[in-house]
């Protein structure tokens, strides 16, 4: 029984991480119909920015507990500084192209950003475990876990609930939903679609950076960080149904638990199992768990 509790705690922690990493991707796809491969680069960007910020924060001896706030703000800033110009000056002119072509453009961006990050931060790893160690441990079902787990889960819940609130309850969210359903009619009704797009892209990129920033203290920050994250995010988002927020949440939980189960009982299947879940779900529900109906082109 205890072992299942361990699996459960590990699974929820991993699910929180998956959700944070993937939610920006589904937001951007839902609104703009862009599968953004550069999402992985924004994750790395967040991690590197976080490494720098935490490094400086502790060197100058600011209040260590406020470092989480610094991480949060730095990640949001990084996403909003780098993301919107990409939308405004490159992607904006490509919307009449095929989804797959836009995907290839973002793949090009991904390759460029990977090297830009290397040029700025170098290729040596960064270690910033201070925020991770600061919280200490907690006990649950006679096992000790780092309290950072709780922080990740709380952050994921916070992000999820905020997004839900913005989408369902605010004017901006309602405009967003109308743009998701019909870009042209929304624009005819007076919604500034260009503004919605640039904000959504910025928000999606910031979410990726946020995930990277809060993961950075738990890992060594090295080049190529985003390469793995982007395929995992794809797996989660596609399994949940591209563009569906609830889908991402459910898919993260399923994959988090399945992976934790595998790590405890059959560690050699760790990577295999996530993509197997994706392939399995797609074979029975070709558009993912929660998918919007789509009209066919005659």
């Amino acid at each position: 029984m205890d072992q299942f509790l361990v699996v459960f705690v590990d699974g929820i922690n991993y699910a929180a991480w998956l959700f944070l990493s993937a939610v920006g991707l589904t937001l951007i796809y839902g609104v703009m119909k862009i599968v953004n491969v550069a999402h992985g680069s924004f994750y790395s960007l967040g991690a590197y920015v976080s490494a720098t910020v935490v490094g400086l924060w502790f060197r100058y001896g600011f209040d260590p507990y406020l470092s989480y706030l610094a991480l949060f703000v730095a990640a949001l800033l990084a996403g909003f500084v780098v993301g919107p110009p990409i939308e405004r000056f490159l992607l904006r002119y490509q919307y009449d192209k095929d989804e797959v072509v836009i995907l290839l453009i973002t793949y090009g961006l991904f390759l460029i950003l990977e090297d830009v990050i290397k040029l700025i931060w170098g290729v040596d790893p960064y270690f910033v475990s201070e925020p991770y160690e600061l919280l200490g441990n907690f006990e649950f079902a006679s096992m000790t876990y780092p309290s950072y787990y709780i922080l990740m889960v709380v952050l994921a819940l916070l992000v999820g609930l905020t997004l839900m609130f913005v989408l369902k309850k605010t004017q901006f969210g309602r405009m967003l939903i109308s743009v998701i359903h019909d870009r042209e009619i929304s624009s005819a009704m007076g919604i500034n679609v260009g503004k919605i797009f640039i904000l959504t892209f910025g928000a999606g990129c910031s979410l990726a950076a946020l995930a990277g920033a809060f993961t950075a203290p738990t890992i060594s920050v090295t080049p190529g960080l985003g390469v793995e994250v982007i395929v995992l995010s794809f797996a989660v988002v596609v399994t949940g149904g591209l563009g569906s927020m609830a889908g991402v949440a459910l898919a993260s939980i399923i994959m988090g638990l399945v992976r934790a189960f595998c790590i405890h009982f059959a560690p050699e299947l760790e990577l295999f199992v996530i993509f197997s879940v994706m392939a399995l779900v797609l074979s029975f529900r070709p558009r993912g768990l929660f998918s919007l109906a789509e009209s066919r082109k005659i």
């Binding site: 390469v227 990577l271 996530i274």
Partner: protein, 312 residues
């Protein structure tokens, strides 16, 4: 839009290279061989692109081809290159045939991402299997050509010749295919699948067919690459490998069966030069080239050839 190539033209193109090959420096022989292997994968992706599909998992068959060759030569000590190539093609083809039943029903982004999932499944399996060297992979012994073991100074040349002959056969076959009614259906499927079906063409069968063909081509490419490099590892199935193949195909364009090979050669040159000069910025170069080609040269480098041709 398709330029037809004749057998004569093909021989004219390949002959100077074949004749010059014994005098080429070793690195160039290696680069051209790898370009041929990548070009074969690109040739399969070109068929997909004609039908409006992009596969992000072609590395799956590349890796299956490479591992088939690797496993047979490593564990069974059997290293006759022509048989190895055939078996690799067969293994990839059988897998593609099986997965094709599922994938032929998918379009657009879902086709790409589901194929990505399958290649990552193989990566995940290989990276964790210690018997096959985990992420380090293993070495492949030297191969024989019809019982003849080439001396060390002729190894690269002989592999290049084998690659050339394989590529030549594939080119003739694919060139015939894209001009056949089945091949012409591909463009029709891209333009409008429902109308194509009304005319009596089966989109599912056509896509299944090219899926198997592309799988076989990628398997051959993987086998050639494995023999040329002499080492295989699971990154051959990783998604970034698929990304490189897509880059090659987009760079070359879909105007001719030769286009992917042009793309692969240019990629090889960029890779060799940029990687040795500045390893930290070569992806930047590849990424910028990709965006540049998509925006300014949507039909790829091959479209340049027709711009300089006189109008007949």
């Amino acid at each position: 839009m398709t330029q037809q190539i004749s057998l004569k033209k093909l021989t004219l193109l390949a002959l100077p290279l074949l004749v010059a090959s014994p005098w080429m420096p070793q690195w160039m022989l290696f680069m051209v061989t790898i370009a041929m292997a990548n070009g074969l994968v690109g040739l399969g992706l070109m068929l997909f692109l004609r039908a409006g599909l992009v596969s992000f998992g072609q590395a799956l068959y590349f890796c299956v081809g490479a591992y088939t060759t690797g496993l047979i030569s490593h564990f069974f000590k059997f290293n006759e290159v022509l048989i190895l190539l055939l078996l690799s093609a067969l293994a990839s083809g059988v897998l593609a045939f099986a997965l094709g039943f599922l994938l032929a029903k998918y379009r657009a982004i879902f086709f790409g991402l589901l194929s990505l999932a399958f290649s990552m499944i193989l990566y995940g399996l290989l990276a964790k299997s210690e018997a096959l060297g985990s992420t380090d992979g293993f070495n492949i012994p030297a191969v024989t050509l019809m019982g003849w073991l080439p001396p060390s100074d002729l190894v690269r040349v002989s592999i290049l010749w084998v690659a050339f002959i394989t590529v030549g056969i594939c080119l003739i076959f694919i060139n015939g295919l894209i001009r056949s009614p089945r091949g012409l259906l591909l463009t029709a499927i891209r333009d409008n699948e429902i109308r194509t079906e009304y005319m009596g063409g089966s989109a599912r069968k056509t896509i299944h067919l090219i899926y198997v063909i592309a799988g076989v081509l990628a398997g051959l490419g993987g086998a050639i690459a494995a023999i040329a490099v002499g080492h295989i590892d699971p990154t051959m199935a990783f998604w970034t490998t698929s990304g490189e193949f897509i880059f090659i195909t987009i760079l070359g364009g879909i105007g001719s069966v030769l286009a992917p090979f042009l793309g692969a050669l240019v990629f090889g040159v960029i890779h060799t030069l940029a990687f040795s000069n500045s390893p930290n910025t070569w992806q930047l170069l590849i990424g910028s080239t990709l965006i540049f080609v998509i925006l300014l040269l949507p039909d790829g480098l091959w479209s340049l050839t027709s711009k300089f041709k006189r109008v007949k």
